[in-house]
């Protein structure tokens, strides 16, 4: 077993052990923090597929995160008001069932990623970054002006949505859902990275011409991973909105895109558990340094600078060393 695998297992174990301890020590706030880490890490896992494997620096992933959030907010608010989402040409009711909300979140964010990707992926480099940012901002301003769902104030729900067989109001049970989603996404990512698709996608990042010369279209690979990436981040958005029982345009803002990217860079671009390490560090810094000063972002900036300058592999890179090529 490689050192990185051991570190990954240790990270997963810590993320699981801390809230379980907090549950028995009656520290609900720690459970909430852990849930937040798991959800933000999930958003990062989504971005890491596009950014790490595909080399696609998307600066608009807040769009998918926010679409996931609004899928929750819209469906749940209709359920709580007993009003249908739409009546014509057929009736769609709201729902407070998480599985349905997640499905809608994943499908909607996937469709958005398909449209945005199909247009943005015709560019590369700085233009790609700017176009994805621009699309992200479009969704942000749309949400602000969408008064039916609170405009700038967003949408609140009073009771967390339900999951069959679980009491989601119990913090540890909701954590278990978020943690499971994160682990499934990580397993999927690790399989994808070494699959035929992953091999071709990563090759397209390193040598685009080569991939074309063996008869594979890089655009198709990139669009596919972009959609998968958006779907995973969208799921994270739905969970995040449910954790807060609140969704607002802030979830769609470019700062959110930046934060998701920071998780990935802090933890290690293209490293499987990079987003987990990154999100954990971000939340820890926010919680600890934020206690001393509201200007804690300055320290975050310093850490980010050090990592970009001296540790390109991020936290995982520092702990596990350089990545080994597969077989």
């Amino acid at each position: 077993m490689s050192r990185e695998t051991l570190i990954n297992i240790a990270l997963a174990a810590i993320l699981l052990a801390v809230p379980i301890w907090a549950h028995f020590a009656d520290e609900p706030f720690i459970i909430t923090l852990s849930t937040k880490v798991a959800i933000l890490a999930l958003a990062g896992v989504g971005l890491n597929l596009a950014l790490g494997l595909g080399g696609l620096v998307s600066f608009g992933h807040a769009a998918y995160f926010g679409i996931g959030g609004y899928a929750m907010g819209i469906l749940a608010s209709h359920a709580q008001d007993y009003t249908p989402f739409m009546e014509w040409p057929f009736v769609i009711e709201g729902t407070n069932q998480m599985p349905i909300i997640w499905l809608v979140a994943v499908v909607m964010s996937g469709l958005a990623a398909l449209a945005i990707g199909a247009l943005s992926l015709r560019t590369s480099g700085i233009f790609f970054i700017m176009i994805t940012l621009a699309f992200g901002q479009m969704f942000y301003y749309f949400a602000i002006s969408w008064t039916a769902y609170g405009g700038e104030d967003g949408v609140s729900i009073y009771v967390r949505n339900e999951f069959p067989g679980l009491n989601t109001l119990d913090a540890i049970q909701f954590f278990a859902l978020a943690f499971t989603a994160l682990m499934l996404a990580l397993i999927f990512s690790s399989r994808l990275a070494k699959s035929r698709f992953g091999l071709a996608l990563t090759a397209a990042r390193q040598a685009e011409q080569r991939v074309e010369t063996v008869g594979i279209k890089p655009f198709q690979l990139r669009l596919t991973v972009f959609v998968i990436s958006g779907m995973i981040t969208g799921l994270a958005g739905a969970l995040m909105a449910d954790l807060n029982r609140f969704v607002s345009p802030v979830m769609l803002s470019w700062q959110t895109s930046g934060e998701i990217m920071i998780f990935v860079i802090l933890g290690g671009v293209a490293r499987l558990f990079g987003p987990v390490a990154g999100a954990a560090m971000f939340i820890l810094m926010e919680h600890i340094l934020g206690g001393f000063s509201e200007f804690w972002h300055g320290w975050l900036g310093l850490v980010l600078l050090l990592i970009v300058l001296f540790a390109r592999g991020g936290l995982i890179g520092v702990l596990a060393g350089k990545e080994k090529a597969d077989g």
Partner: protein, 249 residues
């Protein structure tokens, strides 16, 4: 005369006032090695790019296996069976030699949209890749990361990846560059044996290799083909001597 595998007919390409390809015609017949030589700046790379599909000619047509491929892109031509190697290695540098070869095997076999099974556990792909590496003498380096291979080994890997495609014609851009004397000899012998599988359009600066291997040679100068013929004909051509060989031979 047998039907040409690859036929370039009256291809022209200009960049502003510069005529990089000026009414170029040449063909590649079954079983032959056709060498394309010419001084630096003669337009060899531009011509190669048009044949491979990266550049569209302003005029003229390119036929491959009897099909007009002028408007087909690189991917389309690769799928038809055009196996290209690059002058400056275009390999996935973070990958091992084996992974690069597996990539080629994947391109040839199709089925890219598989997300779960480990590509390197696919014995079918591995067999194709390992066989190609063995043929160019890179078996020992299968597990070496490409960025750690020597320049010459990367040339060999370029050829190996092209082999995995099982192409109908090879388009090789300076496969001898940086190989050294012994390596050049080995590669020459290998290409010699390869022509029976598929014809090779060979761009090469190593004149020993060209005159040893080529059934026919075309000489490109200032975007124009000034002569096409056997090695002896080219050696004896006064215009070629004046334009090019005087400095090389």
């Amino acid at each position: 005369m047998a039907e040409s595998v690859l036929a370039i007919a009256n291809v022209s390409k200009s960049f502003g006032a510069l005529k990089a390809s000026d009414d170029v015609s040449l063909d590649l017949r079954p079983g032959e090695i056709h060498a394309l030589i010419g001084p630096n700046g003669a337009g060899k790379s531009t011509l190669i790019a048009q044949i491979a599909g990266g550049l569209k000619p302003d005029a003229g047509a390119i036929r491959f296996l009897g099909e007009d491929v002028t408007h087909l892109d690189t991917v389309g031509r690769a799928k038809l069976g055009l196996g290209r190697t690059f002058q400056v290695s275009a390999l996935a540098m973070e990958y091992t030699a084996l992974q690069n070869a597996v990539l080629g095997a994947m391109g040839a076999s199709g089925g890219i949209f598989r997300f779960f099974r480990r590509a390197l556990s696919d014995q079918g792909l591995r067999d194709v890749a390992e066989k190609a590496l063995a043929r160019v003498g890179l078996s020992d380096q299968a597990g070496t990361v490409t960025s750690e291979l020597s320049h010459g080994q990367r040339r060999q890997l370029e050829v190996a990846v092209a082999l995995t495609l099982n192409p109908k014609a090879f388009l090789m851009d300076e496969p001898m560059a940086g190989l050294g004397e012994a390596g050049s000899k080995e590669m020459t012998a290998f290409l010699d044996s390869l022509r029976s599988e598929a014809p090779i359009l060979l761009v090469e600066h190593d004149m020993d290799a060209v005159f040893t291997l080529a059934d026919r040679i075309s000489v490109l100068v200032y975007g124009r083909i000034i002569a096409t013929g056997t090695a002896d004909e080219i050696r004896g051509d006064p215009e070629v001597r004046r334009a090019y060989l005087g400095e090389a031979v």
